[in-house]
């Protein structure tokens, strides 16, 4: 889209920046990535009162231009790098009117970069309610920039803000805040001189950040380093001095422009809520109750739409099979591509519901309290208070949970959370566990109320959580983190969730999942389809010929014949050959080649296991007919020993394998997407496979 003006939105977290962004751009926005980093880049378009179009870029929320995380480092790079194609013509700084003091620190920093600035004074409605009186005209006059009072949630003042954007000057007119040069006079003068800079604050920022900035050359960076040594510049001391100077300026500024009553009303309401929600005893109980409710809802509410999607695909596949002439192309399209697509689509309801909950928890401010309550416990095992939600979400599906780890600022904590989340028992493992447990665990009660099968299933769930925590504890000592772990975090005031934001988040996450993970899953599904549908040499023709002989047609019903052909073809397909080939490797775990085939076909998605078992034991219908699969598996015997295949040892060994193995292409794809480095999914796949093999081996030999 052609744009006349590029506007960047800058502000502290929790100032209503994304609400303002949504209000300015409507749904006319797109989410991409800033080059080279996994930070969401939201851009949108806004028509100004004079008919021009402004491109609005939403920059990550930050408290200062000195970055504490990778997300925050984007802000300075985009504002300062004149060669960056995203460099804005105008910066709109959002200030929370109820918390002006801390918000103004970032304003003074950005203003000193001498980029044209407009201030959006947000949450004016709340400020009024709390009795905070702001003399906006005097405030604007003192800053020397347009100050527009807005209430983004209510849509108030948006017209004025758009007008201010269209009237904004091309040159920066803001008043000086602090004497920047006084912080490091010789160094700033020398850097400005050598790099031909006309802005002392830009020169000072380069002195602080030159090592991490990509837009200056290594020679320039090296030269700045030399100069710093020459003038004995100490980055942290200079930052401390700058921050104190800025707050002095801010205190002077606020002295005669803002009147704040002794206790803010809104905050005391928030405090009352906190007394209950972070209560020593009830706080944890309420949290567990909320988690259980989330967990239940994800399962309960998604069951029907998931069934609908799956049935819909089956219907489309069946119809296409009738419509299209049978052949390899139709098979590839209908069974390979559509089959793979249905495997992706069925997870949409779970993803959407999980993200609805997460966005409500974040919007209301409760997520910050969860972090606050759980931090001590999670820190012990190398995780972070914010890791709780992804781990619990992992019971539904690891894919949206891994996407939700973005709320964890600390890089190391986030990586560990991503690495262990797939260990938690996801819903795709459930059918496998149910099938195997009901096969070997007797359906009777112990200690009056506990059902043995239920206990076994619960045991698998608890075991998965324990293994995730143990692995996290190990990784804590393995992964090297460069960022120091802080927990200096704002506890925002409780707010009502914005429902359109919740809806948008559901839509956006589901879309991202389908487009990003979908590509990989479909590719792998197609490969697996080819492996299962074709065999080496003329084996398939021989099977066809064999079953064309009249004695088969006489002794078997047509559908029985078809199933016999299918079963024998699967055994002789490339997947079957592979199953035989890996048998020596999986023998120590108690698995035969038939289980080997199921391991291979469920390589991309665990839930395929049951379907493959059904095909191998050539049962009627499809995976839904679980009882009949069970019956066949129960009576299956080893042709060599005559013993049953699925003993207690084999079933539990198999469950251990599925508990640990990374049999999920979607997760691999999403881990790559979130870490932007194949190292992480590769490492994860490797460690999980090793654990799977070891756990299966131990369990098989222990129970045998």
């Amino acid at each position: 889209m052609k744009t006349d003006l590029r506007v960047a939105l800058v502000g502290n977290p929790n100032t209503g920046k994304s609400t303002l962004f949504n209000t300015l751009t409507g749904l006319n926005q797109k989410i991409g990535n800033f080059p080279g980093v996994t930070v969401d880049k939201k851009t949108g378009y806004c028509t100004l009162p004079d008919g021009r179009t402004a491109e609005i870029v939403d920059l990550p929320g930050t408290y200062s231009l000195y970055p504490k995380s990778k997300d925050e480092s984007i802000v300075f790079s985009i504002l300062a790098d004149k060669a960056n194609p995203l460099t804005p013509d105008l910066v709109v700084i959002i200030l929370d009117a109820t918390n002006l003091k801390r918000n103004l620190l970032l304003y003074t920093q950005v203003a000193d970069l001498k980029i044209p600035v407009v201030v959006a004074l947000n949450m004016m409605d709340l400020a009024k309610k709390n009795g905070i009186a702001i003399n906006v005209d005097l405030f604007a006059k003192k800053l020397g920039v347009p100050v527009i009072p807005v209430a983004a949630r209510k849509g108030e003042g948006i017209g004025n803000l758009k007008a201010a954007i269209s009237f904004a000057n091309k040159i920066a007119l803001q008043e000086e805040s602090i004497d920047v040069e006084a912080i490091a006079p010789e160094l700033i003068a020398q850097i400005s001189d050598e790099l031909k800079l006309d802005n002392p604050y830009y020169a000072l920022q380069l002195a602080h950040q030159h090592e991490d900035i990509k837009f200056i050359s290594p020679e320039q960076s090296g030269r700045i380093e030399e100069l710093e040594k020459e003038f004995s510049f100490h980055s942290q001391k200079a930052q401390a001095a700058e921050t104190i100077a800025r707050y002095n300026f801010i205190n002077d500024l606020l002295y005669d422009t803002v009147k704040i009553p002794e206790t803010a009303k809104e905050e005391s309401v928030s405090n009352k809520i906190d007394k209950i929600l972070t209560h020593r005893f009830f706080g944890l109980i309420i949290f567990v109750a909320i988690l259980l409710f989330m967990f239940q809802s994800i399962f309960a509410w998604s069951a029907y739409p998931m069934e609908l999607i799956a049935d819909g695909f089956v219907w489309v596949q069946n119809s296409l099979h009738h419509l299209l002439p049978a052949g390899p192309l139709a098979g590839l399209m209908v069974d390979g591509v559509l089959g793979g697509l249905s495997g992706v689509m069925v997870f949409i309801p779970q993803i959407a519901i999980l993200f609805a909950f997460i966005s409500i928890l974040e919007d209301t401010g409760y997520m910050a309290r969860v972090t606050f309550m759980m931090d001590k416990l999670m820190r012990k095992v190398g995780l972070n208070g914010k890791s709780v939600v992804p781990l619990i979400g992992g019971f539904a599906c690891a894919v949206p949970s891994i996407m939700s780890t973005r709320t964890i600022e600390n890089w190391k904590d986030r990586m560990i959370t991503i690495m262990v989340t797939p260990l938690v028992t996801c819903s795709a493992r459930l059918p496998i566990y149910i099938l195997l447990i009901s096969l070997v665990v007797p359906n009777r009660n112990v200690w009056w109320i506990f059902n043995l099968q239920g206990l076994a299933l619960t045991g698998m769930y608890v075991f998965s959580l324990i293994s995730a925590v143990v692995v996290a504890f190990v990784l804590k000592h393995v992964i090297k983190g460069s960022e120091r772990g802080y927990f200096i975090m704002e506890l925002p005031v409780y707010r009502m969730p914005r429902w359109n934001n919740v809806a948008f988040s559901m839509y956006e996450r589901a879309k991202t999942f389908v487009f990003q993970a979908g590509k990989v899953i479909i590719a792998i599904a197609v490969i697996l389809w080819v492996l299962a549908s074709y065999g080496p040499g003329d084996r398939f023709e021989k099977i066809d010929q064999k079953y064309k002989q009249p004695q088969f047609a006489r002794s078997l019903k047509p559908d029985e014949l078809e199933r016999a052909v299918k079963s024998e073809k699967l055994e002789n397909s490339y997947a079957g050959v592979l199953g035989h080939a890996i048998e020596p490797v999986i023998r120590p775990l108690g698995f035969d080649w038939k289980i080997g085939i199921a391991l291979i076909t469920s390589f991309a998605a665990r839930e395929v296991f049951v379907g493959t078992m059904a095909a191998i034991y050539s049962v009627e219908g499809n995976a839904e007919k679980m009882e009949s699969v069970q019956q066949k598996m129960k009576t299956a015997t080893d042709p060599e020993t005559g013993q049953p295949v699925f003993t207690l040892a084999v079933a539990f060994s198999l469950m251990m394998f599925y508990a640990f193995a990374m049999q999920c292409a979607s997760t691999v794809a999403v881990v790559y997407r979130e870490t932007k480095n194949w190292k992480w999914p590769t490492f994860q796949f490797a460690y999980m496979t090793v654990l799977a093999y070891a756990a299966s081996f131990i369990v098989y030999h222990w129970l045998r």
């Binding site: 408290y63 200062s64 000195y66 504490k68 109820t98 918390n99 003091k101 801390r102 620190l105 942290q236 001391k237 930052q239 401390a240 921050t243 104190i244 707050y247 704040i260 803010a264 905050e267 928030s270 405090n271 906190d274 007394k275 972070t278 209560h279 020593r280 005893f281 706080g283 944890l284 910050a368 606050f372 309550m373 931090d375 001590k376 416990l377 120091r484 802080y486 927990f487 200096i488 975090m489 704002e490 506890l491 005031v493």
Partner: protein
């Protein structure tokens, strides 16, 4: 006395910091020398704590609070 030793609800005034790196972050968040500070609540497991400072609520670990010296 440090912030980690302050009693809940008692008003303290920030004097200085013992950890330079931490102090930069704390000051950016509005926790500056001369600011009034009170402990609003303690997490159910005893750590971290939530403090009122500069007109809003900030949470920090006890270790981080122990680097803040009060007047």
């Amino acid at each position: 006395m440090t912030l980690s030793e302050l009693k809940k609800g008692v008003v303290g005034v920030v004097k200085e910091f013992t950890d330079l790196e931490m102090s930069v972050k704390l000051m950016e968040m509005g926790c500056l020398p001369g600011e009034k500070i009170t402990i609003a609540r303690i997490a159910p497991l005893g750590d971290p704590i939530a403090v009122n400072v500069s007109g809003y609520q900030l949470s920090l670990r006890k270790f981080e609070a122990s680097t803040i010296i009060l007047q």
